[in-house]
Structure formats: C-alpha cells, structure tokens
Amino acid sequence: MSAAEKNLGVGSPGAGLAAARPADGAGRPDAGASRPSAGAPAGGVSALAAEGLTLSWDGEALVTEGIDLAVMPGEVCCLVGRSGCGKTTILHALAGLTTPVSGRVLLHGEDVTGCPGRVSYMLQKDLLLPSRRIIDNVCLPLVLGGMRRAEARAKAEPLFERFGLAGCELKWPSELSGGMRQRAAFLRTYLMGADVTLLDEPFSALDALTRVDVRRWFVGVARELGLSALVITHDVDEAVSMASRVYVLAGAPSAGEPSHVAGEVVVRRADDAPGGFELTDEFLAAKREVMSLLG
C-alpha cells in the first residue's frame, strides 16, 4: 500500500494527514557536513536511489555519466544544475519513462529501471486538464487506477483545506491563480500515492512572492505528510529553501562533457527562523557551498 493511501486510511482525515511519517529522518547524515556523493547514505534503505545512471538523448551522445544519488524516507532532496545539463532527462529516467544506457533506479531497494507509474511526478507546468473541474483533476490518479468517481472525490475532498484549496473543488482550472493551480497539481501528485515524489522545477513559473510562499507551504506540508521527494531545479534558492540535502550536477552535455554529481551539500534547516529560512546564515552558507560546486 502506498504512503498516500496509508495516510488517507488512518482514522479521521485530519488525523490521517499528520500520521505516518515513515522512518522520520532515518539515516540523515550529520548536519553541516559536506561530503562527496557516495550513493545511499549509511543507515537504512533509501526510498529512491540512482546507481551509476548513465543516460543519453539519442543513444549516442551521453547526457549524464554515473549519477549516484539517494533520497532517504521522509526526506526532501534537491538536484540542482545549470539549464541544459540533463536534469529533466534524469527525472524521466527516475520516473521510468526512459531506459538508461547503464545504471539502475531503485525504489526501496527494488529495481524499477524503466518501469513507469512507480513514483509520483510533478512538473513546472501544472498540466491540469482544462476540461475537468479541480476536484476531478486531483482525483485523476485515483480514477485512472480504477476507483469510482464518487469514491475518489470523497477521498480527495478532506485534503482541500490542508492544501489551501478549500472552496475550489468545483472550479475549472482556468478560474484559479498560478499558485493555486500549482497547489492543485501538488495535491494531484500526492494522490498518485507513490512513496516517492519527483518534482521538476515545481514552483519556478510562479511570480517571486507567490513562489516564496508556496515553497514554504510545501516544506510544511512535506514534513507533515512525511514525503520522500526529489526536487529538480536550476534555481539554487529553490533548492536550498526546500531541501535537506542538495546534490549538485555539473557538466555540459551539449559540449560533449556528460554531467556528473559534483558534490552534495547538507542544508541545516532552520524553518522556524524569524523572517523565514531564506534570511538565515544557514541558508546563505548552504547557498554559497552549492554555488561553489556549480563553478
């Protein structure tokens, strides 16, 4: 049974949300330390791992070479890299939409290389279907899985409040603001119910102020739900503000230099800091480290 199903199933909807944060912080490396990437951090099986992932666009030129990374259960990680360094290609491989030249994708230790439908998936574009009401959009993964519409709606309805969408159930996507649409897309992603969520530049299309709000909201919800997530982005601020660990991707595939993980930065989260985490020294320290790895 998937994480979302577990959460949804427990007791009253409100209580179910806060429950089930699988293996909270298990195996999280010591804060403040930066160390070279070495696959799964010690302690416990990772929720999602890539082992020596080598990818290409056309079967010839390599985009990435030997990517190792691991997301521990209940952890939000980021993969940050410049535009065109193959981030989305990695995401597609992790989602099982493409098959790597070599290497494996592991989900809780199980080999899922090339199998779509095992992880939840969210893009910069909200990709809401314009022809469906918001509630039916977020229910889509449930309905596609064979659940009856009424049952799916009943399951999704209690979540609207927590996702900041109360009152939007019967609206059409075109009636919502960008931030709201992205929250709806995230609720839909959550209802995909997989243990691991992949997010590709999830909030970078929003305007600056909305972006900061939605990121903070995401960090809170992710913690509450115990999400294991990998956020892929080119935005160092987005990476550091959302993740507890940041993998830095370096390379220039178009110049014949496949991307590789240049290093890994552990972010010392201080989400309760006055004025927000983005104004703390910890944030700046992590950002500086990521920038220097990006070169």
């Binding site: 989602a95 099982g96 439908g117 998936y121 893009l123 022809s131 889509l140 996507p173």
Partner: protein
C-alpha cells in the same frame, strides 16, 4: 528607406500605444447598438434594392423586388417547407455519416503514425477539389435518388472533420501524456481524458464549417438531378423564370445553414462547460 521617412515612421509609431490603450479602455458596444446597427444597414440596403427596381433602373423581370420575394416566400411556404425537409434530411444523414467516418479516420491517424503520414497530404489535397466538380459524377454513378446527395455531403463534410480532429488530437501537450503514463493510464484513458477534450474546440469549428457545407452540398447534388429538395425546386423555378421564388429559396438555404450552425454552437456549449469559465477568466 530615406532618413526623413524613417523619422516620420518613428514619430507615427510613438502615439500608437496610447491609441491601443484608449481602445482597451472604451467599453464594448452595447447590446442594443450591436443589434440595431446591422439591422439598419440591412433595411437601408433592401430599401435601395426596392427603389432601384421600382424606379425602373433594373428591369423587374431580371430582378424581383424584396417585397415580391417575401410574397413568393409566403405563397410557396408549404412547398418550400416540404422541399426543405428533403434537403435537411439528406444534409443531416450525410453529416452524421461524415462525422462518424471522419472521427474514425482521425482516431486511426492519431493511433498509427504510418496512417497519419500516408493520408495527411492526401487530406489536404482532397480539400481543394470543388464539390461542384464531382457532383455530376456522383449523379451519373448513383442515380437520381437520395444516395448521391448523401454521398456528396459525406465527401464534403468528412475532410474538415477529420483534419480538425486529427490536429486537435496532436495539440495535446506531450508532458500531459507523460504525466498520465506515470499514473499508469491506459491508451484509452489518455485518449478520453486528454486527447478528446483537447480536440473538442477544433472539432466543433470543423463541424460548424461542415454544417454549412452539408446544406450547400445537398442543394448542389439536387440541382444535377432529383425529384425533391430545394435544389430541385430552384432548377424548376429558374426554368419558369420566377426569380422571386429563386430568391425565396436562397433565403431558406441561408436560414437552414445558420440554424444548423447555431445548433452546433448549442451542442458545443452543452458539451464543453469549461469554455465559459475560460472566456470569463480571459476577459478579466
């Protein structure tokens, strides 16, 4: 371009943003104005037409007056109605068959790339063939009954439907399809939830065009041989030189086409409730 000209253009370009702003600020014309203005224009034109004939500038046997046309319309109402039923039935039958065939073809083109590559250019070329040119052949092959009429309507409505649906299916964001694949959606589910709604807009535009083609196609086929229908009526009144009846049947054809288009619009509004929300948020 000479220097003075360029500077003149530059000077002319500057006030443009202001003008555009003014246009945006001025409210859309009121409903009354939108209805009354074209009405006045039509009445004025009819008055000029009536005057031109009444004053003898154009001989009456060549051009009936609007009053004569309306009189003919009223006198022949029963006859026109029965012919209209025939034409409408042929047009509707042809349209239904055309839509079903077009739909099937578009789905095949969407499903099989080879099918698309094979038929896409043929579709475009076949749209340039005038229906008037193939109508006599159809009558020759299929006789004087309803069949050649229906077939001509099918031929002329099939292509706009197929082309609009096929390009509609292709307009889906590939990321939506990727997303649905990660949700383990079946091919049928991707079609039903993403492709079909995405194609709906273009489908209805194509259907609106097809609806007018259907009426015109049926009439053209009737001209070339048949026992009933507005086209048959038109050839008969033309041979008896009663041009007032000719004009009366033209009015009927226009009204039928408009009614069919309106019907398509109503169906579209009922089947695409999200369009209204989109229009509203665009206006905002």
């Amino acid at each position: 371009m000479s220097a003075p000209e360029a500077s003149e253009l530059g000077g002319g370009a500057r006030p443009r943003p202001a003008r555009r702003g003014a246009r945006a600020r001025s409210a859309a014309p009121s409903r009354a104005r939108r209805v009354l203005t074209p009405l006045v224009a039509v009445v004025a034109l009819l008055a000029v037409w009536e005057a031109v004939v009444d004053l003898g500038l154009v001989p009456n046997f060549l051009l009936p007056t609007p009053v004569q046309v309306v009189t003919a319309l009223v006198e022949d109402a029963a006859l026109l109605a029965s012919h209209s039923v025939t034409t409408l039935a042929e047009a509707a039958a042809g349209l239904v068959v055309g839509v079903v065939l077009g739909f099937a073809f578009a789905v095949l083109m969407d499903r099989f790339e080879t099918f698309y590559l094979a038929f896409e250019p043929l579709m475009t070329i076949s749209q340039t063939i005038p229906t008037v040119a193939i109508a006599p052949l159809l009558v020759l092959w299929l006789g004087y009954g309803a069949l050649p009429k229906v077939v001509l309507v099918v031929v002329s409505t099939f292509f706009p439907i197929t082309v609009s649906l096929a390009s509609g299916f292709r307009s889906v964001d590939p990321d939506v399809i990727d997303l649905m694949r990660t949700m383990n959606a079946s091919r049928w589910q991707i079609f039903w939830y993403a492709k079909l709604p995405a194609a709906a807009d273009q489908f209805f535009s194509g259907l609106k065009i097809s609806a007018t083609y259907a009426i015109v196609g049926a009439v053209i086929a009737e001209w070339l041989g048949g026992n009933a229908g507005l086209g048959v009526y038109m050839t008969r009144v033309r041979k008896s030189f009663s041009y007032d009846r000719m004009f009366a049947s033209i009015i009927i054809i226009s009204v039928l086409s408009l009614a069919l288009m309106k019907l398509v619009e109503l169906v579209q509004r009922a089947l695409m409730p999200w369009k209204r929300a989109e229009r509203n948020s665009n206006e905002r």
